[in-house]
Each structure stands twice: as C-alpha cells, then as structure tokens.
Symmetry: C2
Subunit: 265 residues, 2 copies
Amino acid sequence: VTLSLRLTLEYDGEAFAGWQRQDGRARTVQGELETALARVTGERVAVVAAGRTDAGVHAEGQVVSLALEAPRDPAALARALNGVLPGDVAVRDARAAPAGFNARRDALSKWYRYDIWNGPLRSPLRRRRALCLQRPLDLPALRRAAQACLGRHDFASFQAAGSSVRQTVRTLSRVDLEGETGGALALQVEGDGFLRHMVRVLVGTLVAVGSGRWPPEAMHAILAARERRAAGPTAPAHALTLVAVRYASEPEAAQLSIGRSSSSA
Amino acid sequence: VTLSLRLTLEYDGEAFAGWQRQDGRARTVQGELETALARVTGERVAVVAAGRTDAGVHAEGQVVSLALEAPRDPAALARALNGVLPGDVAVRDARAAPAGFNARRDALSKWYRYDIWNGPLRSPLRRRRALCLQRPLDLPALRRAAQACLGRHDFASFQAAGSSVRQTVRTLSRVDLEGETGGALALQVEGDGFLRHMVRVLVGTLVAVGSGRWPPEAMHAILAARERRAAGPTAPAHALTLVAVRYASEPEAAQLSIGRSSSSA
C-alpha cells in the first residue's frame, strides 16, 4: 500500500542551485526536501516537481508529488517537514492525491510572475526580488508585444540555446503586465508548459521592445524565426517566481487544512 | 556659502550595524553615506538622520540633513551618490532645504511599520522582513491594546533597559494594525518621537496581548508602571521599517525631481 501525496512548497531561491538534485555539493530544493522526508518518514522518497526551477528562481506555489509506503496524516507530515527543513523552504500545504499523481505530467498549467522595478532610482529593498530598470519602459508597446505571444505558438526562439527539446509548441493563456510607469511592474505568465529559460527570454525580449529596441510587431518575426538569437537576452533569475500550478481535478475532498492543533507525526 | 540639503534614503538594514557611524569596522548606513559624499563632493560632510535606526532595521524613507560648501544640483548629486553607494542603500530624493535644516530636530513625526506574518505555516519569502508567528493572534484584543497607546503617554516602560533618556513622554498619533487573521499583518505607528527600542517593545507587548498572555486593559498598568520589566519582550529588528518622516514645511518650491536626463554632477 502506498500513499500518494501532493505538497505545495514556498521557497526563496536565492541560496539554491535550483530545484533539481545534483551530484556533488550544490544545494538544491529537491535535495533539501528529500533529506527532510527521509528524516521524518524513515523512507527514501523520490519527489517530482511541477516545474524544475532554475538557480535563483523563487516559488510561492511549487507543487510536488511523492508516494509513501506507510500511511500518514498529510497535515502532520507538513508540520514535521517544516520542523526540519531549512528557513528558505517550507511546505505550505499537503494533501492526499489520486494514486499515481505526478505533479509534472498532470499539470494543466503553470503560472509565473516576473517582477520589475522601473522607478527612476534603484530600490535597495526590492533588489533581491525584482529586476531594477531605471530607464522608463514604454508600457503600451510592451503590452502590445506581450499580447502577440498569447495563444498557441512555436516558442523555439525563446528556448535556452543548446536545449534538446524538439517539440517547442506551447500555449500561453495569460501574458499580462501589471503596474504603471515609474513604479513596480509584474509580468504574469500562465501556460500549459515552458521551455528552458522561456519566461526569462520572453521578459528579456519584451523589455527590449519596451526600451525601444524593437517595435511590438517584431514579436511575430521573432516567433517565426524559431532560433534563439532572434529573441532578446535572458532576464536574470532572481526576479522570477513560480506562483501556482493548476491541475484538472483539484483534490478538494481530500483537502486537509494545516491545522493549528499540536498533534504530531 | 553653504548649501543645506535634505536627502531621503531607502536601505535594506540586514547587513548594517544600524544607522550610526561607529569606531572600528562595523558597517553603518551613516558611514557608507559619508564615504560616498566624500567621494562625490570632495568635502568631508557630517550628516544627521531623522531616526537612528538599530542594526537590522530597514528604511523606505529615512531623512538626512547635510550642508555642503560648494553649490550643487540636488538631483545630480543624488544620481552621483547612487552610482557609488553599495546596493543595499540608495538616495530616493534630494532637495534644497532651508538654511540650518536639521533632519532630527526639525522632524514633526516619524512613521514606522512592523510586519508580522501570522499564517499557520512559516513563509520563506517573508522571513527576512517579517516576524513569523504561526499561532493565530487575537486581533480584536491586540487592536484594543494598541488603541490604549494612542495619544500622549509616558513610555518609560517601552524604553530599552539602561537608556539614560529622562524625558520619556511621547505622543503617538497612529497605532493601527492592518491585516486579517491568518495572513500578513502590519502595525503602523506614527509619533512625535521614539525612545530607544520603543516600537519593538510596543510590538512585543501587543503580541503578548494578542497571544492571550495579558488582557488588552493591561496596557494601562504597563504604561503606568514606568519600568521596562512591566512590558513585553523586544520584538526582533528585521521586521521594522522606517517608512517616512514628516516636517512642518515641506520644501515643495525647492523640490527637484530626480530627472532621467544624463546630466551629471
């Protein structure tokens, strides 16, 4: 008998070499979570994440699937994991999932946010989480360019150079820039899947449009080119956050709120 | 001829041993600013801050006064300073001030914010800027206790032990807790002056009330006691931010917005 679980994680990506466990000494979110699971459950557990975030990328709602041999109360497991995980990663939610649940394969969409500080002077309190651009961006132009990426496209031009992924068609259901001139901006991007560095290359390209380097209409030619060098630079990782992941059937019935009782694992 | 200036600073307090310059190797905001001023102007300038923030305390709007021998465009000076200041401190605004302007003595009020994360699970992305309290606070009780501190009182009970300040009567014009149960809370405190650690002891005492240790009415006896041990613990510094400082005559006429032109100092 195994128990399928779905965990939602929050992490500050600054001190992590990304999600994916690596050989050697790199500190990764997957590595910390699997170590904590081994300590708490005594089982060697392999976890699967919805999005394999890069080094420096944050998460407010990364989703992870795993299966345990021994039954456990999800809420008690979450509290126990939070007791041993380091300060920069925590379980926000834990619930039972349908047998065979796979956080990556079963995800319908992932939602990322990219934060930009576009005030005229740099902002020390925002510098760890936002890209600081002091020159004012042309927001109407940037928004028209964002609009051009909406829907189903071949995003090969927005994939990190050297990627081996062949099927590069993805569908973006949301590419919105929130905020106003001279202040905090947030690009909200939701899609059914993302190529390596895709959000960051998209941001770098949109910023190039907003800076007047290309007109908004250039997005069509950039998409059509299907090569990395047609797009703009890769925006830095520290301003990117995986906000949430959506699934077809939210396991509402199985939801176990993280109680405040002192029952322990 | 000297030029009186008023600078508004933003800083991330995490890596500073507070505002005030110290002998030896401690890194302070005052020390970084005076070093930057010397580099940019060639003058040895002593600066005065409205609030001498403790180690770890942040500022969104610290105000600083200084006088220069040689005339300078305030906006150009701000840009030049931001070019040499380290990433965790920046000038947000610079303008000419009336002769003899003293940021500390002339301040009418200072406004501080203390951030609390009161969700049931700890939050890695909030941990550097908020006090994380997982047990739900009794917000109505906490708000009644906050109300009791409003107005003119002797705050001797809320002063760091060992302080030598004798005149301990201060007036608080605002003590509001924003936010809702289970989430982000912000205590907004504005007053005509603050004793050493006053906001942090106030927060520690209000949290004690919100945790059920004392009833809200205890605030009257705590104020009347006039001794530090009557109040609650000193809340940690990393969640405190100096938001803004108010003055009688805002030098609107002399305001020089920080332009985006490339004119340099």
